[in-house]
Subunit: 550 residues, 2 copies
């Protein structure tokens, strides 16, 4: 009854012509302005106050119960709520059941706290509502985008002043593109590499136009492959599937003991494919900060190898790219400038809000291979950025990055990154010091994996037969799965888990994975998290309870 | 000197450890909160005040001069600016040279004013910073997303209560997905259709895994085609290129005199391909609101034809989809429920901010064809939305749409859409009334095209030979290009132009294109825009000046 009453009242407020016109005009009078600002205050601080009180992924309301509350599937004809009510609902009902990714105890994924000014910057992007697909809906914003692309390109490839002077505002060339995320960036890189490898030749007009079947016939091949280590992100397999080369042809190469590309295997594999004229190598992918372990491939060596063999070398630096801002750790990415293309995510270690990936190409003509035009936009020679881009309509996230770089300087980012890398070292030392744990992948950057592995089992792993070790690992996998889940559901902290596959008797091992990017996370907090895991382990698997596990 | 001084002062403010920690904490004291709110006030109202003073795409500062100001390509080591300065710069230097897409005189593209509450909603999405790729970084937000997907699915396909009850929160099935935009939506639809058509068969494991060459061999074909009218969006050609079928195999079918798919040609084409067993039809695409003319294909007929021939029927309703909220005009999209997949853009006629596309599938198992997993996320049976999705990391735009639907109701959207459709009819009448103009495509929705075509040339077009007509059209094309450009550069208003291609003596004609979606645009404003065009025409091409054009 009262609900109906509210609906009616609100209907009068919004769903008539005058009310609708009002919501398209920003208010002219002081009262209305004050109201809009009050809502913004609620958003900026109300959401945060709620988030403060819950950390990690609480399971107070089970997922099933939660889902049951969101099963209504009809859109109300009349307005149901006013903006104020919607905001209140979001603050009271949604935020407490969202995940507090900003908590320093949330160290399980590549999502973390962001500087508060990022929210202001995103609000600016939304309020301007420019569409960078074309100059006619963005103008100076497209120009700023070209500038910030050049800035990051320079950070990666540090080419000459005259190079950047020629290309920064050149409407015929392209140093890179803003895309939705790392997946779109990797897809774009392989798309460009595919079209370059199988471009027009004699009467064949290129793979983009005629398709893969015609391309394979024109080039007299029946297979293209992409070589990447088994630590490569799954988006590379997905890109292989989308592009028609088949995700089975994105080959997972062996890694060395540091989870880096095994160069001997890579050389051997290239040699084998070069003997087989029916297969072409589309690209070799190096990883600069693998998702699971943070490991970095030997980029310099890979780059030289690719150059010698004329293979497109792509570097997936979605995670590690921003380390280039640090004088102290830049050397970890040594050789990244030998790449033909590089992926970097803004929403990872540039601490931007979600949805800001980037792809860069050393050669500013490379993206010509994916150029599209339409009669009403994207005319050749214009500043229409949509000409060489996976997406059409796109928001102007470049404005956010440009502003953030001015506010932070490279040094600001460097301090954040150095904190994470150095904290990871301390954390690794602490894990090694505690008898219950085993450090599985020591950190190169700010990501490490470890597992619970009680001393007696560590001893057995060391001295046991292959069968015994396999059995123990299975037991350990079950233990680690349980501890991770119980900790997550307790809701005080969150560490993720993954399964590392290797060609070895320890074929599949479940590990706990931490990503240390929140500057509020410190060794004290990490100790608390380890304490909690020890506590959970003892409660669940104290020596007497161990039998039930395997 | 003073610049250096500022840099130093700011460096002290941001690029040290304490300062960095501060920017990750929302401020606890009242003064600091007030400051952040003051910035938000500047963003909400400052940007707008600036935009108010300039409409359209002013050319006061030429593009070249503007670009020259953004050629610096080094990132400063130390912070250059504080947030306050960055905001001031954006308000004073960027906004005035951005495009005022919110002006009611900006009627050239599918970008327009948005209700002010959308900016608040986007700010909420940014502040929560959830990543809907997986439950562990989004929780309830993924659940809300599934619900709003079901709501729009129901608006399109209106299946039964029990259907929606089964699928709305089902973690094994998928009613659709939020994507970056219409391009990603169309790509996803054709990707799913490709993988379904060329799925696993006997020992062949499917095109996604083994690639297109192996698929064509397994199915004994050498070509796949997509059939769409020549009014189809260029993203469909792009999708053909990316997916490996070749963009030449996205065939532009003839249109009838209303710019709708010519059903006779379509039937004939399908018949021809069915006789040729080496070619498969991957999909037929219907358009519900073409980008250039707003025309709507005969969806019901196309759907029946596709059903009879077992062809995937995709409808690109990026523009027209939201018309389904209007009782009065829903019938224009009659037959959309016979589609297998439907694209709708939130940032078009749901009036959201940039970057919110959607793709829907009638069959909730259809997206299984593009499923991907990884060890650390997207585990089978979870609510990890990234499992069946082009993108990985994604922002939670679904929260915005959910809130907007509550604030507006279907009726709120219906009123906006009806205004545009009815205004377009009045505008068409006015164009027809004025002797200087020729209405080229009468509006079905809220898009129409027309051109300047003085009475004596209209007469010649009517009675002339094919060669004469072709000559006149060339002259008219030049006139219309000039008038459009001069008006755009004057900066008071903006109408776009495009070139319509037809199989006829009027093969290529340049038209002025208007998109009427801003509720503040009225017939008075449209008359002013026509007046201005008449004025420009008379100044430039008064009878005496006409010779120099052709």
């Amino acid at each position: 009854m009262s609900r109906k009453h509210i609906s009616k009242k609100n209907a009068a407020l919004v769903a008539d012509w005058q009310a609708l016109q009002r919501i398209f005009l920003r208010p002219e009078n002081e009262d209305a302005r004050a109201m809009l600002l009050k809502y913004m205050e609620q958003i900026l601080f109300g959401l945060h106050d709620f988030l403060k009180e819950h950390v990690g992924i609480t399971e107070e309301a089970s997922l099933k119960n939660l889902a049951d509350k969101y099963k209504q599937t009809r859109i109300s004809k009349h307005p149901e709520k006013k903006l104020a009510e919607v905001i209140t609902d979001l603050v009271r009902d949604i935020a407490p059941h969202a995940v507090n990714v900003a908590s320093p105890y949330f160290i399980g994924h590549m999502t973390s706290a962001i500087p508060f000014f990022m929210v202001h910057l995103k609000t600016i992007v939304a309020a301007l509502n420019q569409n960078v697909v074309k100059l006619e809906t963005s103008k100076v914003v497209s120009i700023v985008e070209k500038q910030v692309l050049a800035k990051i390109h320079r950070l990666i490839f540090h080419r000459s002043d005259s190079f950047y002077n020629t290309h920064v505002q050149n409407t015929r060339t392209t140093l890179g593109a803003f895309v939705e995320g790392g997946t779109a960036a990797n897809l774009t890189a392989l798309w460009v590499a595919r079209n370059t490898l199988l471009g027009p030749k004699n009467s064949f007009q290129g793979i983009e136009k005629e398709g893969l079947m015609a391309a394979y016939q024109a080039y007299d091949i029946d297979r293209c492959v992409v070589l990447v280590s088994r630590r490569g992100h799954y988006s590379l397999r997905k890109a292989g599937g989308i592009l028609g080369i088949g995700n089975d042809n994105v080959l997972a190469m062996d890694v060395d003991e540091h989870h880096r590309m095994d160069m001997r295997s890579l050389r051997e594999q290239i040699r084998v494919f070069e003997l087989n004229s029916r297969t072409k190598i589309l690209a070799v992918v190096g990883i600069a900060g693998s998702t699971e372990t943070g490991s970095i491939d030997p980029l310099r060596e890979m780059g030289e190898l690719c150059r010698d063999h004329g293979i497109h070398f792509h570097v997936d630096a979605a995670w590690g790219g921003p380390v280039l801002t640090s004088d102290k750790y830049r050397h970890l990415l040594d050789g990244i400038d030998s790449a033909d293309s590089v992926t970097i995510d803004g929403h990872k270690q540039f601490y931007m809000t979600m949805g800001c990936g980037m792809i860069y190409f050393k050669d500013p003509r490379k993206m010509d291979a994916i150029e599209y035009h339409a009669n009403y936009v994207n005319r050749p020679g214009s500043v229409d950025l949509g000409m060489k881009s996976l997406a059409g309509t796109r928001e102007a996230n470049s404005l956010m990055l440009d502003s953030a770089l001015k506010i932070m300087g490279t040094q600001g980012y460097a301090i954040l990154l150095e904190h994470g890398i150095e904290l990871a070292k301390k954390f690794a030392a602490e894990i090694s010091r505690r008898p219950l744990f085993q450090l599985v992948t020591p950190p190169k950057l700010n990501i490490l994996t470890y597992r619970i592995c009680p001393p007696h089992m560590q001893a057995e792993l060391f001295s046991g037969t292959s069968t015994q070790r396999s059995h123990i690992n299975k037991t350990l996998n079950a233990i680690n799965r349980t501890v991770q889940r119980v900790q997550r559901e307790a809701g005080r902290s969150f560490v993720s888990r993954t399964t590392l596959n290797r060609r070895s008797p320890d074929a599949e091992i479940v590990v706990l994975r931490t990503v240390l990017m929140n500057p509020m996370t410190d060794i004290q907090i990490l100790n608390e998290i380890l304490d909690e895991q020890e506590e959970i382990y003892r409660c669940r698997f104290g020596t007497n309870n161990l039998k039930g596990v395997a």
